[in-house]
Every structure is written in C-alpha cells, then in structure tokens.
C-alpha cells in the first residue's frame, strides 16, 4: 500500500511539473508576443551545463544579440540544453521539432552532437545551422545541415602554413583525443609534411586531463621548434602550458581557436605569454563593439558565428520563408556580411574560412593579422 502511495505521489510530481508549468513557460519566452503575425519558432540547442557550457553561453549571447538587432517580432527563440552529447542532442532536437514546432535550429555546438542530431533534422525537413561544429564530416550530413564556421580541414591547413611561413620546421602536436582533435591533427600534420616540414611528435590527451607531463616529456625529447596545442578544454590547456614551463620546454607555442579564452590567460598567466592562436574570426570590429556595449565584455568563442547562424535564419524568415524547406532553400541563397565575415553557403552548407591570428602579449590576446 505504501509503495503505491509513493508511486502515485511521484507521478503526481511529474504531472505538476510537466503540465502546470507549461503555460507559465510560454509567457516568459524571450520575445515580444505579437498578435497579428503567426509566430515562427526557432530553436537553439547547445551545452548550457557540463564542461563545454562556456561555449554554449557565449554562442547564445551572439544569437540573442542578432535577434535583438534584427527586431523580428514574429520570431520566438526556444532554448534547449543538449550538453554536447549525442543522446541529449537527439532528445533536444526531437523535443524542439515535435513539441515546439520549430522551423529552424541554431546548433548543436559540438561536432559529435551535431552528427547525432543531423539525421533527425533531415528526416523532418528542419534546417540546422551549427555555429561551431568544425568536423569535416558535418559537410556530408545532407542538405539540411549548415554551419557558419569553416571546417577543420581549412583551419588545419591554415595553421600548417602559418607555422611554416614563420620559419618553423619541426612540429610537435598535442591534441585532445576526440572527434575535433583527431580531425584537426590529421589535416595539420599532413599539410605541414606536404610543405616540407617535419612532424617530430604527435601526442594525445583526454579532454579535461590536467596532468600532461608524460606527453610533454616525450614531446620535449623529440626537440620540436614549435608545439601546436589542439584542445577545446581550457583546463587542459592551462595545465599543458604550466607544465611546459615546469619542464623547461622552450619551443614556440601555437594553439587552435579553443585556446582563445580568457580562462586560459587567467589560469596560465606567464606561461601563456607568446602563444600564437589561430582562430576562426571573433568578429568584425563593429560586432565586437556592439557586443561590448550589450554585455560589457568582448565576444567569447564562436559568438560571432552564433550571431551569423541566427542572422542567416532571420534573413530567410524576413524574405517570407515560413517552413523548414523554404528556409533551407533561402539559406542556400544567403549572401550577407555577417559578424564573422562574408557568409555564403556552398552546396554542402559550409562557409569558406575567415581566420584571425592572435598572439598573447602582456596577458592579452593581440590581433596580429
């Protein structure tokens, strides 16, 4: 009997949480409700908790800014936390499409999650515009998957050329053992070798690892003149930089775009000095100023790409697209100057690369080219 009471109670909790709160949710959505026009819902899914949450937050700011500037009063943004995990992303996209009836989605942030959600977007004819999934495989996910960030295939090549042009010939790579790191490393090492340089070490670590001494010791023995860090985990990068200083490694340090994070400057301090970071564009000067004015901070990673992802969808809606299919068709015709550069999607839904080069000088990222 007691068991029964408890189970009834639990089911009650659900129903209360599930049903009673639902009307309340609608009144606090982030847009101004308009009576006459039909409301078009656009979804946002990305990590708002977990170790990649800082990317999700920064992208969300870009999206919010775009939404505010465009002033589309018939568009409503529905936000879901998908934690950068495949299973969560599939749940979130199902919820957004079937329950909220979104016609387009900004997201996911991580490549693995985007790849898991893409088949569902295709099946339901809902375009997904990822602001930050850089895996080359995202290109092959069908016509409903777009992104406003260039594929790793482009950045690896750019990084290899940059290091070679600066006169470095012996490259060591330190990358995270995940989709992103592995893909980037493959392109980087191949391009560098093709240019005539030598790849003397290529070591890997787990995302979030904070003891990288073993890999660094091996790297040190290989005597590289430049070390390229590919990571999307600020904690690991801070550890790697500090431990390089500890071990007395004197090679030049390059980093992928994930390294352009204030957390790394704070954490690593002196050790980060002189690090060169290749990053996808952090935004035009106009965008940076407007972001600064709105949030009192410089844009975080991929904020500009988030802005562009929403803007591309917003422009499609402005042109009168109301269904997923119409938005997809309009996206293929997109041609505008966004926050990260000129946005034109090719037949795979990819954009061409706009990269910046930063150098850490006196504890700050300074744009060098």
């Amino acid at each position: 009997m007691r068991n029964l009471i408890i189970s009834v109670l639990l089911i009650g909790i659900f129903l209360i949480v599930g049903c009673v709160q639902q009307p309340a949710a609608e009144t606090t959505e982030e847009s101004v409700e308009v009576v006459e026009a039909e409301v078009i819902k656009v979804g946002f899914m990305g990590p708002l908790s977990g170790d990649a949450a800082s990317y999700g937050e920064s992208i969300k700011r870009g999206v919010d800014l775009a939404m505010k500037e465009m002033g589309l009063d018939n568009v409503e943004l529905v936000v879901e936390d998908s934690k950068c995990e495949g299973k969560e992303a599939v749940t979130a996209i199902n919820k957004l499409i079937s329950l909220d009836g979104v016609v387009a989605i900004v997201g996911e942030v991580c490549s693995g999650a985007t790849l898991a959600a893409a088949p569902i977007a295709n099946e339901n004819n809902v375009p997904m515009v990822s602001p930050s999934s850089t895996s080359p495989k995202v290109s092959e996910q069908g016509e409903y998957t777009f992104r406003t960030v260039p594929s790793d295939a482009l950045q690896g090549d750019f990084g290899a050329n940059l290091a070679y042009d600066r006169g470095y010939r012996k490259l060591a790579v330190l990358y995270t053992n995940e989709e992103y790191g592995l893909g980037f490393n493959n392109v980087l090492t191949e391009s560098f070798a093709a240019l005539g340089g030598e790849v003397v070490a290529s070591e890997t670590f787990e995302r979030g690892a904070v003891d990288i001494r073993t890999q660094l010791t091996k790297t040190k023995d290989a005597e590289p003149d430049v070390i390229y860090i590919i990571s999307n985990s600020p904690d690991s990068t801070v550890a790697a930089l500090q431990q390089m200083t500890e071990l007395g490694i004197e090679a030049a340090i390059f980093g992928s775009e994930g390294q352009k994070s204030p957390a790394i400057l704070e954490g690593a301090g002196e050790s980060a000095e002189g690090m060169v970071v290749t990053a996808v564009s952090s935004g035009t000067s106009g965008f940076i100023e407007r972001h600064q004015a709105e949030y009192g901070e410089a844009p975080g990673p991929f904020a500009a790409q988030g802005y562009d992802a929403f803007k591309a969808i917003g422009l499609a809606v402005e042109q009168g697209a109301t269904t997923g299919e119409e938005i997809k068709n309009a996206l293929f015709g997109s041609d505008f100057d966004g926050a990260s550069g000129h946005i034109v999607f090719d037949e795979n839904g990819d954009v061409s690369g706009n990269y910046d080069v930063f150098e850490v000088q006196n504890g700050e990222f300074v744009l060098t080219s």
Binding site: N3, Q21, T91, K95, L99
Partner: protein, 290 residues
Amino acid sequence: MIWPYLTHLLILIGIYVILTVSLNLALGYTGLLNLGHVAFFGIGAYTSALLTKAGVPFLLAFIIAGIFASIFGYLLVLATRKLKGDYLALATLGFSFVIYSLMLNWTGLTRGPLGIPGIEKPSFFGLTISSTYSYLIFVAVICILSVFVIYRIVKSPFGRLLEATRDDEMGLRVLGKNTFKLKYKAMMISAFFAGIAGSLFAHYITYIDPSYFTIPEIILLLSIVIVGGIASIKGSIVSTFVILLIPEALRFLALSSSILGPARQVIYAMILLGILLLRPRGIFGRVDLE
C-alpha cells in the same frame, strides 16, 4: 505534435529498462557490485554497428552483440572471482575504463573518437524498421521479452540460489553449491541483455562514439537501480521512467535561459535526494547491499 518526442523518450526508456533490469540481476539479485555494465552496453553497440557495416544481417548482429558481451561477462567474473564488495566494484570500474580505452584508441577498428556514423536502421525478414513508431514497437517487444525472461530467472530455483549467494555466500558453499558458477552465469545473462540493449541503442541513434560509454552513464544506470530498489525488477522499471522523465519534465519549467542548464541539474539532484531520503532502500527496495 507531441508524439515524435514521446516516442523518442519511450524508445530510450525501453532500452534503459533492459539495461537496468539486467544490471539489477547481477547487482541486486546476485550481489555483484558491478560498475562494468556500461562496458557491456558499449560492446554490444559497437559489435552490432560494426557487424552490420560489414554486411552481416541485423538479427544475426543483434544476437552476436549479446553473445559477445556475454563472453566478456564471463571473462570479467573469471578475472575478479576472488574479489567482492568494494574491491569488486573498483575492479569492474577498471574494466569499464579498459573497454572505453579500447573503443577510443583502437582507431583501426572503431574509428576512435570519430565514432561510427550512419549505422543503418534494422531490417529483417524483408521489412525495414525506418520510422520511430515502428522502432518503438520493436524496442517494446524486445524489452518485454527481456524483462519476462529475467523475471522468470529470478523467480526460479536458480534465482533463489543467486539471492542466497548475495546474502550468505559461505553458507551456500557449505551446502556444496558452486558459487563461482552461479556468479558467472548471472553475469553472463546480465551482460547478454546489456549487449542487445547496446545494439538497440546503436541502431536507433545511428551514430555512436566512445563518449556514450563513460562514467556519467555508469552513474545514471546505478542511480536508476538504486533509486528503484536493489533486487526489485518492478523498482528498476518504475525508476527508469522516473529518472529519465524528470529531466524532460524540467524542460517545461519557466526558467530563464541564463540559468536553465545548471538549475535543471540542481532540481534534478534534489528530487533524487528527496526520493532516497523518503525511501532509503529505493522505491521498491527490499534488501540492503553490504
């Protein structure tokens, strides 16, 4: 339309019911504090995905996924036969890490962190399960069959021996029973069902990578079993619904998007704590594990 979303959740719940009920067989009924269940899940997922990619028919790959996981179950018990309690827990946790590392680093076979994309939907006897509705029916059939089989096992004389192994292993050995044999049999059955759950998961999500089979997943499975109650099939089933649906219900809370991520997790944790404070042995728990 709410149905595609609910269908998706029910499919996940079906897969997790198989996983947690089978975990309960080893952990609750037999008293093997097994933290390696997620490895069997992963082995099943990878085996089935790789076999169908190589052209093996789905049903065969599905069965082999279970059998393959089952073999690993035997090996795990064999390797840890002298351990129990906390020590067994630690050793089986190690087993999860070993399998995870294999998936991550044996890139020639598993493509490592790149994962396996484009796993095909199941097809057998000339029909392909492509829509999520038919997949739900398929999962429901397998789930009911699995739960039924495990239910019959725990209610059989063999099941009583398993419970005796948990409560008084020494006593059972005095009576001349081979407890090692009981343990590996229980573990093999448990691993078999985890393996087929893995296969169901892989062919549903169609993209797997090693990150699915790590610590957070172990914690999820354990909390479902513990919240449901040790050695209670009914408990595991109810608790799977509760634990998988609470975070979904919380999606509808009127939270501002700036605190949405963390707030959902805090509330989720508080509900779990609340359940365990009210029912220290879980919702339908009967026994304590030492």
